[in-house]
Symmetry: C2
Subunit: 642 residues, 2 copies
């Protein structure tokens, strides 16, 4: 065995991984729990997973992503380089995906939504999906010889509004009932799990154990998985943990993962790695807070439709085939251990309901979080993550769609694009003299540009006249930042002397076209939804921006490039991670969970892929800000266009 | 290993069983699936398990149950004789418990109840607890892109009255849904299992498979287990099978079995052997009717409270301790395989609800079968099996109790008593000249007396003046049938020349006292129930006699001895095995299942063990027919007492 394996020593983290010969450096990194930026999922197309080979024997495939000078420095793509002997590998700053960076970068935003959760859940009666009730049952006598289970039910009915017809019991629990009742002098705490049509007694404990009732709300994203630990009896958020979705290794977007799973009959693996991520988060939260997994009685997951399918082991194959059908939009609550989730043995897993193939539980969760179902004002919710979803409506009606924005706002397909992690440029200004000033996350040396930085960049390029309204570089400008390479023109944003990667951070003509297509997709989706309801952008009274990207986004830049419609900034509100926020509300109040179901069932889903109006809009929106400048009066003024 | 084991060769069945040395002959018989009459459960007290040792080495305990002459013929008690080498053992006729005899003896009665089931279920809408519905779903299109599961639910709602809120799905079934829908051109049959507050989709099959929907109704008795196979889509009973409850080896009555289970931590074993009996019945039914266990989607069990506990693995220990509490009276439907029952993997097990510790699901089933909940007339239901239970009431109220009648009507504690099997005396008359005429089951040579024969015997002894109204033999009568033995007087009913056992069939003074106590228990229970409601025997408008013993019982004899109150014979109706009948009604109509719950919850249970009135009544009833002859005017006339 030993000589069929090799050791890969990673620097600067100083982790050594033993792996079978013939596996890739990326495989070794995943095995060592080291996340390497591999947006394409390891098929060699994104060129993001560059590592430096210190020493050792490899087998590598030719790639255009490594320049000659890089090759000389030892750069290889981790995903297409096979380990053939013991290696020393350096993971450069820009290729790293460090879990602590997600947290560092997103923690303030979570805190924001934490406060929001507390206030927002007040809309609902505080009755967690899994609730603990303390009972002091009357001792049985010859005159009151009701059976143990019926005595328990009677006690529950006297303390709650659960009817006898709705009560059911987990069978293993029933078996233990007589012993627990007698050993605890008929004073017990029952854990009641809401299952929609029924309420299940999932645990009975002697004495008063109401304090020990915890739940976890999970935002199951395509890229990141974020978990919040809640004390359900107090209604408090206790801790937060996040990780990258380990499915990344099988594809950056979920369509790639569906294909991978289908081609490799790897549906089980998709489920396993995702559940493993969640188990890991739960275990970390539990350990850090001196709890046990037994204390976790419920998990509420909000994920897009594909993530929800993978999570519970449903085949999502038909989602990508016309007419784009999920196996299920709403999955009734189920026992968490049925899908391998490690919480209390009888604990329940709730998935927030999906609306359609491309609008999932994260969006019904988001609509719940902003209480769209109660909104008097016409509201627009835009959630931009790995995908972009849009909901328009108020308390009377809701329409929604998914915009094929692509992952360019997460840095994919953009030469110096990166996720919103430490060192990423999140704000950027180009002055009249073409000088660039910028701010990075954590004020670290720049490693690349994340979504909000890219929006600023595009807006500033057009404002400063570096590009025209079609997005083309104005070759006549007087700046040596604009240069021509073998692949066309590019504009230097940060000189290599200032970067952590020791390479220039640039934006290329191809990058600009990618960003244009992405912003056009979002704008035209908004515009199609509005038109379908006979409305215009100025009818929008509230615009909610959700998603990891939301909080850092400069609204003015987003309007200048024509991604958002030309609304007053006062109407815009950043709402953070509404997916996890809605999940928390559901966890704390079963009525909120039911409202999410109502929201999902009331939303009308528009499929844009076959929508002619959308295609027309999309073409018009591939312009800065739009072919019809009259739709953007404030931008016309800003850019002095008439 | 081999020399620690011995072979026991049983005759006349010609079965050889290999068994560990030191085990008893009874153990060997059970291992060989040979039932030996061992009413006491094998502790040597009943003396029923006599076998004849042909050859071989044994170790035996002294017993008073074997006379000297029997010992000389090789008789030993199977339960207290250890196998110490290879043996040849003859099982005499009277010690056999032959399964075919239960069926032969009880089949006509079942047929009667079969007809009844068909007519009685008509009271209810015919909707089985587990129902199959055929759906032709519309093909999805871009305009109708509802998810698979929601599409299925919509189809179900259009064909049934199940609401969306109530529908749940078994998780393994959901996983297969997309594949089945597409491979069967969206034409599927769903199996819907009623679970009280919810309706579960337990199976989805391509095409129209409505025909293949079967269920089994089981009367789980302390002594026998009877199973009826039903075609649920047609509402027809197809076949019947019965067996002895294998728990018999651990005790003849359920109190003995509770003690055995507690002392030997054998709760699991109690469940296993009972489930194994049911599995065996189901398998036999399925095989004989060319089905598979997969076709069996539901089992409804009606058993007394202790059997119900053992069946589902609940500890019945507290049932025999004051204040006599079951762990549960009603157990919600559960997946049959959870208790080891081998039917369709997602098939459901329903247990009819118990009323209290000593009035079980067999009695609520019985009350359902006679539609006591709809009765205009004051009705009395008496179910005499291993125990005797009594229900009094009408559509407005119901009271019930259990009479500690003891098993004497099943032949236990009676010197020549036997179960109602082939050769048992079921009818008997004593003429003026003390000659005895009798009829045996199957007209075979007499082997003993079963319950109905014992009632006739007691009635005829008092009518003919062989005993007086206290039950004592009148030594002065002119008949050599009355003789004195070491154990007191006995009356010879059948001369050894006519019996299959080659021994006289007699009734002893001790037998008479046992029977008196049993009949007194039943009468005083009836009388206590009546009194508690301020009523008298002549208020009874309908008297239903249920149980194995019912159909053969001579009502006049039962009144003469004062077991039944003095009512007109026209008010008495034999209703056979109402336990299985009610279970069948529930299986075929979920409304009937719900009515059984209502009945159980409406019945007021009287515990007689601590009831002073009952004790007084009992003392008065230890007389033929009663100390107060005015309560039995027709008997006063018959016996010419004034």
């Amino acid at each position: 065995m030993e000589n069929s394996h090799s050791k890969v020593h990673f620097f600067p983290v100083d982790v050594t991984v033993e792996i079978e010969k013939g596996k890739t450096i990326l495989d070794a990194a995943y095995k060592g729990d080291l996340f390497i930026n591999a947006l394409c999922g390891g098929d060699g197309t994104c060129g993001k997973c560059k590592v430096i080979l210190g020493s050792g024997m490899i087998e590598s495939m030719p790639t255009t992503h490594i320049s000659v000078s890089e090759a000389q420095k030892g750069f290889v793509l981790a995903c297409s380089t096979k380990v053939m002997g013991n290696l020393e590998v350096i993971i450069p700053e820009e290729s790293k995906l460090d879990k602590s960076q997600i947290l560092a970068g997103e923690f303030p935003q979570f805190s924001g939504s934490l406060a929001a959760a507390t206030s927002r859940v007040e809309h609902f009666r505080r009755e967690p999906l899994v609730n603990k009730v303390y009972l002091e049952l009357p001792q049985p006598t010859l005159d009151d010889s009701m059976a143990d289970y019926e005595r328990l039910c009677r006690g529950i009915m006297m303390k709650t509004d659960v009817s006898l017809e709705k009560l059911t019991i987990n069978f293993d629990v029933l078996k233990c009932l007589p012993g627990i009742l007698r050993s605890s002098d008929w004073k017990v705490t029952v854990t009641l799990g809401y299952r929609g049509s029924s309420v299940e007694i999932i645990e009975i404990q002697g004495g008063d154990t109401r304090e020990g009732n915890y739940g976890v709300a999970v935002d199951v994203g395509t890229t990141t998985v974020v978990a919040h630990l809640l004390n359900l009896s107090r209604g408090e958020t206790i801790d937060i943990e996040a990780t990258y979705n380990s499915q990344i290794k099988y594809g950056d977007d979920y369509i790639q993962r569906i294909i991978y799973a289908a081609e490799n009959t790897a549906m089980d693996i998709m489920q396993e790695v995702l559940i493993e991520d969640i188990n890991h988060l739960v275990f970390t939260l539990v350990k850090r807070n001196h709890l046990t997994i037994h204390d976790i009685n419920a998990v509420v997951c909000a994920g897009n439709t594909v993530m929800t399918h993978f999570l519970i082991g449903l085949d999502p194959t038909n989602i990508r085939k016309e007419p784009y059908l999920p196996a299920a939009s709403f999955v009734p609550p189920l026992r968490a251990h049925e899908v391998g989730m490690k919480i209390n043995n009888n604990g329940l897993l709730y998935n927030l309901p999906c609306v359609g193939a491309y609008v999932g539980g994260d969006i019904s969760s988001g609509a719940l979080a902003i209480r769209l179902d109660k909104a008097e004002m016409l509201s627009l919710l835009i959630d931009i993550g790995t995908n972009g979803e849009i909901v328009l409506g108020n308390k009377d009606w809701m329409v929604c769609c998914s915009a094929s924005a692509g992952p360019s706002f997460e840095g994919s397909g953009i030469s110096c694009g990166t996720r919103a992690a430490k060192g990423a440029i999140e704000k950027l200004t180009i002055r009249k003299n073409y000088d660039v000033s910028y701010k990075t996350i954590g004020d670290a040396p720049a490693s690349g540009i994340c979504g909000s930085g890219l929006l600023d960049c595009l807006a500033n390029l057009v404002r400063s006249g570096v590009i025209d309204r079609t997005g083309n570089f104005q070759k006549g400008i007087n700046s040596d930042r604009l240069r021509r390479t073998d692949n066309g023109y590019e504009f230097i944003l940060v000189d290599r002397s200032e970067t952590s990667t020791k390479r220039d951070i640039v934006i290329t003509q191809a990058d600009i076209q990618n960003l244009l297509r992405s912003k056009a997709a979002i704008y035209s989706a908004i515009s199609t939804l509005l038109e379908s309801m006979g409305m215009e952008p100025n009818n929008i009274e509230q615009l909610y921006l959700a998603g990891g990207f939301g909080n850092y986004l400069d609204v003015r830049s987003a309007i200048t490039i024509g991604m958002l419609p030309d609304v007053s900034a006062s109407k815009v509100q950043f709402v953070g991670n509404t997916s996890v926020l809605g999940a928390k509300m559901a966890l704390l109040a079963k009525d909120a969970y039911e409202v999410a179901r109502v929201i999902a069932s009331r939303m009308t889903y528009f499929d844009l892929m076959c929508n002619n109006k959308y295609m027309e809009e999309y073409v018009s929106a591939n312009f800065l800000p739009h072919t019809d400048i009259e739709k953007f009066p404030s931008v016309a003024e800003e850019l002095m266009v008439s």
